[in-house]
């Protein structure tokens, strides 16, 4: 087996592994892929082939990881972790992001994005989008309205601010809910 064949074999194995790990908590899946990648990196073809045989089928690794993620209780119980993984936590968090700012202006939304930040459901980039995208979108809306205020007549910048403050978090909360529930359903299978 040539060096390029060996690299292709490793790439194929890692690709199959990533596909098999879909549905696992992303933190666990990332950790498994990173651990196996570092082990297969830099070894020759024979050693890589032996390690792949030793590792076993990606589907077997994924099944073991799923069983390990689902069944074992933590040594130190963590109520917040269990709550973060539950459907109720996801729904309440998204409701606060979407409508919290309407019920309790600003503070309600801040509580919602705080729960997003501490949750285990969403990826880091999704958390950043949830927190910063509404601020940026609202800022751009207000800026745009302020710039064209003289031409539009009745539409003032604060009209747009009020409408934006309602709709932008609502859209963000809905987006988080869709992604969160899909992920929850996948990990619950």
């Amino acid at each position: 087996m040539s060096q390029s064949d060996q690299s292709q074999a490793v790439r194929n194995y890692l690709s199959d592994l990533k596909a098999a790990l879909v549905g696992l908590p992303h933190e666990v899946a990332d950790e498994i892929v990173a651990g196996i990648t570092e082990e297969l990196a830099g070894v020759d073809a024979t050693a890589a082939a032996a390690r792949i045989v030793e590792l076993g089928e990606p589907a077997f690794i994924a099944a073991e990881a799923k069983a390990g993620s689902d069944l074992q209780q933590p040594l130190i119980p963590s109520a917040s972790k269990e709550l973060a993984d539950s459907r109720a936590y996801i729904v309440v968090t998204c409701a606060l992001v979407a409508l919290g700012g309407v019920v309790v202006p600003v503070a309600g939304w801040i509580v919602g994005v705080g729960m997003v930040a501490f949750s285990k459901t969403w990826y880091l980039w999704e958390k950043l989008v949830a927190i910063f995208a509404p601020c940026v979108a609202l800022g751009l809306l207000i800026l745009g309205a302020w710039l064209v205020a003289g031409e539009t007549g009745g539409l003032t910048w604060w009209h747009v601010a009020i409408l934006g403050a309602f709709f932008v978090p609502f859209l963000t909360g809905t987006w988080l809910l869709i992604r969160g529930m899909k992920r929850h359903a996948a990990t619950a299978r």
């Binding site: 498994i32 651990g35 073991e64 390990g68 074992q72 040594l75």
Partner: protein, 111 residues
């Protein structure tokens, strides 16, 4: 039932075995997996990483990257202060517990 007993016993103690291994020295994932699979405590590396993630979430272990002389940069795991305390508490309970179980399953309640 025999197979279930073995699986249940392993589940109860394997995380403490990881803490015990890391008490001697920091180790990387593959290193831990080879020892644990060799001893029949886990079936594959797939069992190990959810456990390490859980132990890290609970603050019992931490991780750091370190380059080796010949190989790639590896993620090593080591015990935290909380992990050392948790392992110490388990060690104190394990010997009396194991002795009690041994006495009961070997001699019944006559001893």
């Amino acid at each position: 039932m025999t197979a279930d007993v073995g699986a249940q016993l392993r589940k109860g103690v394997v995380e403490y075995c990881v803490l015990g291994l890391l008490a001697s020295e920091p180790m990387y994932g593959w290193q831990l997996a080879e020892i644990l699979t060799g001893r029949g405590l886990i079936a594959s590396i797939g069992t190990l990483y959810p456990m390490l993630t859980r132990l890290r979430t609970q603050g019992l272990v931490s991780s750091f990257n370190q380059a080796s002389d010949a190989g790639p940069v590896r993620k090593y795991y080591r015990l935290t202060t909380t992990g050392i305390a948790e392992l110490g508490a388990f060690r104190r309970q394990w010997a009396p517990f194991a002795n009690t179980v041994n006495e009961l399953i070997e001699k019944g309640s006559t001893s």
